[in-house]
Symmetry: C2
């Protein structure tokens, strides 16, 4: 299937925000509405101005600015914003614009979906992770302590506007967050994308239209086929079962980026797939070598492995107390609902953190 | 339409809970699941035992008991319960049973709908208001301070079990909460029900099957026609625009029951309907006389009227800053989205609280 109709169905537009339907939509549908913009300190500083250029009267919108970072993707943040919305007397016909990365679109999407049983929201992702993944597909949510996305609903923004020029404001570690998801999209569903990305010489090449749009297409097609994650969509969690637990574990003492954690999770989960004879040793070697070129393996103490496994016991995908993973059986194809023994998970983490990765 | 297929479609069963499908559903579908029961101190004391008699192995369920009352229908309560669910490692295939009145089913429904983007829940209403109204129809939610149901989602329980024997544990003011909704259902949609209830000699007559089931039928039919309240369903808000504001206003210093507030709201909104020549003086007189037989008019200071009107400005049904009401144009028929001037609302409150109601 071509990308354009897919994008239109998902209400996603890509381009310079001044030339997208953003301005006309705001002016036509929300001229008399209250407009609330949710941003973080960075996107307020670097991205907000571009929105005002696109739609001048947004200058009168109410800005709510939260501190940046995953540690603010909490119910407390929501609670504060809900109180502000109540005080502004925001109603069912008003609009929230989420301007930011995954934290802002996940949190803001949840805030809007629950306020007065749901008000409209628009997502404007400003990070690569947001553009490739977080800003569309219907998942919204916040964390409870170090359990990721424990609260949330499935609900779609009325539109997502992707303006790649926002990417040039980002530091490299942010780019890597999105890059990990692009690698994942290639590994689970698109061998051509995989062959393309292993050839890149500079990280900035991943902004190129061919890579960017292939990565988007993978997610849109999967989400369209299974919006509520009853089956197929679970393959998008490849690398995330172990990745989320690693991210959660590091959360309290060191900020490990989401994409970094997912990249590590993909190595560990590929190890498991190889161990149970699903994935060939040769492909596993390609995967591990490629990921390690861009992501370092952090040091941990052996005792921390048990703590990481413990966190996995609260994963949303578990069934009857058993940890379940999405596992690739070859590059470009992924299986879901694979129950994994705790021992094998422990073994994969020992391989990841304490071996030389010679396979 | 007959009631039985309507009830089946809405997954509602009425009868002694020991004889309903409750036990078989739990045993067949949730034998290996974690089961969490949300109750308040009263329903734990008076209703919980009946559930164990129906399904013995519920003795091993995790009980979460919250203090009773509208003042606990808050995000804080949800936050505490979510933390407990996280610690219990409750997963997507587990079950929450809400055992209680509207506060428990509204709050518990919201808790379940948002936890891990939605887990299953069953409602077992124990109050008349719960049975007639709150426990089905898809609305879940909690309050923010004295703004009612500011947070919530539309989502249905997998089943609602109505056992009228729970009603015999209730004090009269609780019965009146449900009675107000029965009056509302009659006024907006069912003249036969109205004629039936004006003839009752004892309040307990409203438990009789003919009244009870007609009142249920009104709500089920309206909700089926418009589950997300885009149009018709708004007539169920008759009495609630002003009623919610009165309830919210009293909230901080005196506990005015929801049904009592709605009954007062129905008088004020009927006054408005008469003033704008929609409702005849004769029917208005019947309504006011009947409601006053069962509900007292509380005393307030004149200055409080402005405060009540102020609260209405945050009502979910407002459009472009204008307060909107559902108004009856005759007994048994209701219109929605009626914009009302602030002055007329003020006048209706002065009539309600400061006149002798001679019409």
């Amino acid at each position: 299937m071509e990308l354009s109709p897919l994008l239109a169905d998902a209400n996603i537009e890509i381009g310079n925000i001044e030339h997208l339907s953003f301005a006309s939509k705001i002016i036509e549908s929300y001229k008399n509405a209250k407009i609330i913009v949710l941003a973080d300190e960075n996107t307020y500083r670097f991205c907000w101005n571009k929105l005002i250029v696109a739609v001048e009267f947004l200058q009168t919108a109410e800005l709510i600015i939260i501190p940046p970072g995953e540690e603010n993707k909490t119910l407390d943040t929501c609670s504060n914003v809900w109180e502000i919305l109540s005080n502004y007397k925001v109603g069912r016909h008003d609009l929230i614009i989420n301007l930011g990365g995954g934290v802002i679109t996940d949190t803001g999407g949840f805030i809007a979906s629950v306020f007065k049983r749901g008000i409209h929201f628009i997502n404007i992702p400003t990070t690569l992770l947001g553009m490739i993944d977080a800003s569309f597909g219907g998942k919204t949510g916040v964390n409870i302590e170090n359990y990721k996305n424990q609260l949330g609903v499935f609900n779609n923004p009325i539109a997502t506007y992707i303006d790649k020029s926002f990417l040039y404001t980002l530091p490299t570690n942010h780019i890597k967050n999105g890059f990990a998801e692009i690698i994942k999209h290639a590994l689970i569903n698109d061998t051509i994308l995989w062959e393309r990305i292993v050839k890149i010489k500079e990280l900035s090449e991943i902004f190129s239209d061919d890579i960017f749009k292939r990565a988007l297409k993978v997610k849109i097609e999967i989400v369209n086929a299974d919006p509520k994650e009853l089956g197929l969509r679970k393959i998008l969690n490849f690398g995330h079962t172990i990745g989320h637990a690693i991210e959660g574990h590091f959360f309290n003492f060191y900020r490990l980026e989401h994409g970094h954690a997912v990249a590590l999770g993909m190595i560990a989960e590929s190890y498991i797939a190889t161990k149970i004879d699903k994935l060939s040793m040769n492909e596993f070697r390609q995967i591990i070598n490629f990921i390690k070129k861009y992501f370092l393996i952090p040091s941990i103490a052996k005792t921390e492995i048990t703590e990481i496994v413990e966190l996995m016991k609260n994963d949303k995908k578990n069934y009857e107390g058993k940890i379940q993973c999405a596992l690739i059986d070859k590059i470009g194809h992924c299986m879901y609902d694979q129950p994994i023994d705790e021992e094998l998970i422990t073994e994969s983490l020992i391989f990841l953190f304490f071996s030389k990765h010679e396979v």
